[in-house]
């Protein structure tokens, strides 16, 4: 047994050597902190016990109870709204980036003058840092001085009154649209690359059969792009559920509260736990979120495998 391990190790010496620094880094910066974070979720860790850190009083599942069930707990304020917002936000943003990316990728995937330049220009929002996206759109959504209201009301007269975008239910749109704006070029880039790797013969054959462009898209392009959009859905899901920068910078420019309709889980956890020095509860909430995410990703893998088999 031990000899086998040593033999294997010798055989793959170079691989292990190459992996060594990464493994060390990940142990200290990923595995270690995650283990500590999970442990923290069971501790009464706040401003009084932070000095003891990992030897703070063990309180079992009380943090989880506070975060999930205890109606009187301060860490639970707004969790329901935040969850609702996060679900709507993640779904709309993921699908929005994907569909917009797909539409524009189809448009760019033709022969025309200035193709490369236009593709590059389309990618520009993706380079804008997310905190800048938050500041910029936070400025554009301003009720009185924001350009969006100026265009909608003062120029186009679409509405009688200037609406509030950063207060009330509109807030959800105020955070969804900038996020789509920031991320869709990336979807477009990947989908475009995927499209360019689809053999041209397939389309020629479809042309001979007299297929409409619509039919060609649903029967050739879309199925063959499955690996791309599936990956985009996976990462869209992860990134959007954990979205933080855009929202935190948009409201009060890093100092405010996003409100009932703009609060996401990350900002909620950050505000309720970390800014109140209630680290145990924050860790518990993160752990719950992480478990949900692992569950979701597993569902994704299940469907992905099935789709892969079909291909």
């Amino acid at each position: 047994m031990i000899q086998r391990i040593i033999r294997e190790f010798r055989k793959y010496k170079i691989a292990y050597l190459f992996l060594l620094p990464t493994v060390l880094g990940m142990l200290t910066m990923h595995v270690g902190p995650i283990a500590q974070g999970i442990w923290m979720a069971f501790l009464d860790l706040n401003q009084f016990t932070i000095n003891q850190y990992l030897s703070a009083p063990f309180i079992g599942f009380e943090n989880f109870y506070n975060v999930l069930l205890n109606p009187d707990s301060p860490v639970r304020i707004g969790v329901f709204e935040a969850t609702r917002n996060t679900i709507i936000y993640a779904i709309i943003v993921t699908l929005g980036t994907l569909s917009l990316g797909m539409i524009v990728a189809l448009m760019v995937n033709r022969q025309f003058f200035g193709k490369r330049l236009i593709r590059t220009l389309f990618l520009f929002p993706w380079v804008v840092p997310t905190y800048v996206t938050g500041i910029l759109w936070g400025f554009m959504w301003q009720r009185g001085v924001g350009i969006i209201n100026i265009i909608l009301v003062d120029i186009l007269h679409l509405m009688p009154d200037k609406p509030f975008w950063l207060i009330g239910p509109n807030t959800l749109w105020a955070i969804i649209i900038p996020t789509i704006w920031r991320y869709w070029p990336f979807s477009m880039l990947l989908l475009l690359a995927g499209m360019q790797s689809i053999p041209e013969e397939l389309y020629e054959a479809a042309d001979i059969d007299g297929a409409s462009p619509w039919r060609k898209f649903w029967s050739i392009t879309f199925p063959l792009l499955t690996p791309v959009w599936a990956v985009l859905i996976l990462f869209g899901m992860i990134y959007n559920v954990y979205s933080f920068n855009i929202v935190i910078m948009m409201f009060g420019f890093g100092a405010g509260f996003p409100g009932e309709w703009g609060d996401l889980l990350m900002t909620n956890i950050f505000r309720n736990s970390f800014m109140q020095w209630n680290f145990g509860a924050g860790a518990a909430a993160s752990v719950v979120l992480m478990l949900c995410m692992i569950f979701m990703v597993n569902i994704w893998f299940y469907f992905y495998r099935r789709a892969e088999k079909r291909l």
Partner: protein, 598 residues
């Protein structure tokens, strides 16, 4: 009607291209708007004004010379008007800020905060020359105004700026600074110099606290008179009237007698913006019109509502826009009085008819592009430091994570070693953990590490570089693995047969082929670290702060300064945008190849 296949295709193409361009416009609009807003004045942003504004051409001075009416405006505009027809004959703008004029003699002398002293010849208004007054370091945005006086040989210049308590004497013949008078004194400093008047061998200097009598011959301050009891906000206008002086400011106008060395009498209460002295009467421009004052009888005649709210081109300005109508320049000419106000509005007033008989406007100011916002922002926050820190931290993190991720990705793509599955799963699993969860553990680890070893970790460059490098390795591996998998195995086998060691194979065969992918992933890492806010927030100190943290602090302090905020946003975006634009070929090629195949 049936169209041919090609025709239909063409129409289709045009339609799709149009839609694409519309989407492109919508996509780029926020970025364009960000840059545009950063060049606007905040006051314009706050009233929701979209176009750039013109420089304020408020009338500063009006002076008659024969048939000509000279008008100087705040943006450095010199207008020559015909006195009779009240039409503009010629104008020139020398783009100054906080301007003061002197129209005596053959030249126009202009003092300003940004150019120092400038000279324009009156006959053609063309030859312009700037003279450096060696004003030294000062915050140009805080200069409220300048003051100018001259005689045949000298020009005296000073700035309305706290702490600038000197008058510069400039010799117009030798074109050199002749003397600099220091007006600092223990009792009243710091003062703001607001007006200067030349009077024979004396120079009268009005400040916000005193009236200073400076003797030019003896080159010393002869006397200082406190004005606090009379003009608590300062002497904004200083005019000579017979052997007395008229001092005017925000609270009224007074007669000061140099012989008796005291205030003789109060002419009028309330704001007085301009004074003109003519034989037998004095005109005092105030915030509605002007007041005629007859010193002999001590009687007044008020002429009000000279300026309705209207623009420089005599259009009525729309409701809601605040337009001050104070008469900031007034000059009398027999039965007419010429008055000037804000927005370059001027009017000719007939005293007999008691009404405005003609209006006109000085030339419009140039469009204002406020690059000043960037300077202001740079001055308010230590952006140079943040920029340096961000480049250093993100660059180092990129290099380290690329080195290690390349090695790991190669190992993962080439060798099916025991534990490779587990490792792949771990890589993906790390992406599923909310970043917030790492925060406290990493912070405590930093603190504990420093407690046990004594090596500082929090707030150091290597600390945050270590965190970033380790943090972005997993995803980099995930992208790079696809690259290495795409490199044909046969190449490596051939090299091995030729006698290359595994390290040599990696170094000479695989690595060169993977360079585009490594560059792409590196840029991706750089962009991600450039974007990172929370860890930098917690783990950096004032010296190692990166741009996002700096901007967050800055933006929190300047909630209503959208211009500065957008300037900060532009400065944070432009470096990455330039990098992206230069290297986009690699990014497009690399990321697509890696991610699609992975």
């Amino acid at each position: 009607m049936s169209l041919s296949y090609y025709k239909r295709k063409r129409i289709n193409d045009v339609v799709i291209s149009t839609i694409m361009l519309i989407i492109l416009v919508f996509t780029l609009f926020p970025i364009v708007w960000m840059i545009y807003s950063s060049l606007k004045e905040n006051t314009d942003i706050l009233v929701g004004k979209i176009p750039l504004s013109h420089a304020k051409n408020d009338i500063k001075i009006m002076q008659l010379e024969g048939e000509t009416l000279w008008i100087g405006t705040a943006d450095g505009g010199i207008n020559r008007f015909n006195k009779q027809s009240f039409k503009k004959e010629q104008n020139v703008c020398i783009e100054t800020a906080s301007t003061s004029f002197n129209f005596d003699g053959k030249e126009v002398w202009i003092g300003s905060a940004n150019r120092g002293l400038s000279r324009v010849f009156k006959d053609n208004l063309k030859e312009k020359k700037d003279f450096d007054l060696k004003l030294g370091n000062y915050d140009r945005a805080k200069v409220v105004g300048t003051a100018l006086a001259r005689n045949r040989q000298f020009v005296w210049f000073s700035m309305q700026y706290k702490g600038f308590e000197k008058v510069i004497e400039f010799n117009t013949e030798t074109e050199k600074i002749h003397r600099v008078f220091n007006l600092k004194n223990d009792l009243y400093s710091p003062q703001q110099i607001q007006s200067i008047l030349y009077d024979g061998e004396l120079l009268w200097v009005g400040t916000d606290k005193t009236l200073i009598k400076y003797n030019l011959v003896k080159d010393r301050i002869q006397n200082i008179y406190s004005i606090i009891g009379h003009l608590p906000l300062g002497v904004e206008t200083l005019k000579k009237f017979d052997d007395r002086l008229i001092l005017a400011g925000k609270v009224g106008a007074f007669v000061f007698s140099p012989q008796k060395e005291r205030f003789e009498q109060k002419i009028i209460s309330g704001q007085v913006d301009s004074v003109d002295v003519a034989a037998g009467r004095i005109a005092l421009g105030n915030n509605t019109g002007f007041v005629e004052y007859f010193p002999d009888g001590g009687t007044f005649k008020r002429h009000e509502d000279l300026f309705r709210p209207m623009s420089s081109h005599a259009e009525i300005i729309e409701d809601g826009e605040l337009v001050p109508a104070e008469v900031s320049a007034v000059v009398q000419n027999g039965k007419y009085v010429y008055a000037g106000s804000s927005y370059g509005r001027i009017s000719k007033y007939s005293i007999e008819k008691d009404e405005v008989i003609a209006t006109s406007g000085a030339a419009k100011g140039r469009l204002v592009v406020s690059f000043v916002n960037y300077l202001d922002m740079w001055r308010n926050i230590d952006f140079g430091l943040y920029l340096k820190n961000s480049f250093l931290i993100c660059g180092a993190a990129m290099v380290f994570s690329m080195i290690f991720a390349t090695l790991a990705a190669y190992a993962l793509a080439r060798f099916d070693f025991p534990g490779s599955k587990l490792f792949s799963v771990t890589i993906l699993a790390t992406q599923m953990v909310p970043g917030i969860m790492f925060l406290i553990p990493i912070y405590s680890m930093f603190v504990k590490f420093t407690e046990t070893t004594g090596i500082p970790f929090k707030g150091t460059y290597y600390g945050i570089i270590f965190v970033y490098s380790a943090f972005f390795i997993p995803f980099s591996i995930w992208i790079l693995r696809g690259f290495f998998a795409a490199i044909p195995r046969e190449l490596e086998e051939a090299a091995t047969i030729d006698g290359c060691s595994p390290i040599q194979v990696f170094w000479y065969i695989v690595l060169p082929l993977a360079v585009p992918g490594i560059i792409a992933t590196g840029i991706w890492t750089f962009l991600s670290t450039w974007d990172e806010l929370i860890f930098a927030w917690v783990l950096t100190s004032a010296e190692t702060m990166t741009i996002p943290v700096g901007i967050r602090n800055f933006v929190g302090n300047y909630q209503n300064r959208f211009d500065l905020m957008m300037a900060a946003a532009v400065v944070a975006t432009v470096p990455v945008m330039i990098i992206f634009f230069l290297l986009q070929k690699y990014i497009v090629k690399g990321l697509t190849a890696g991610a699609v195949k992975g």
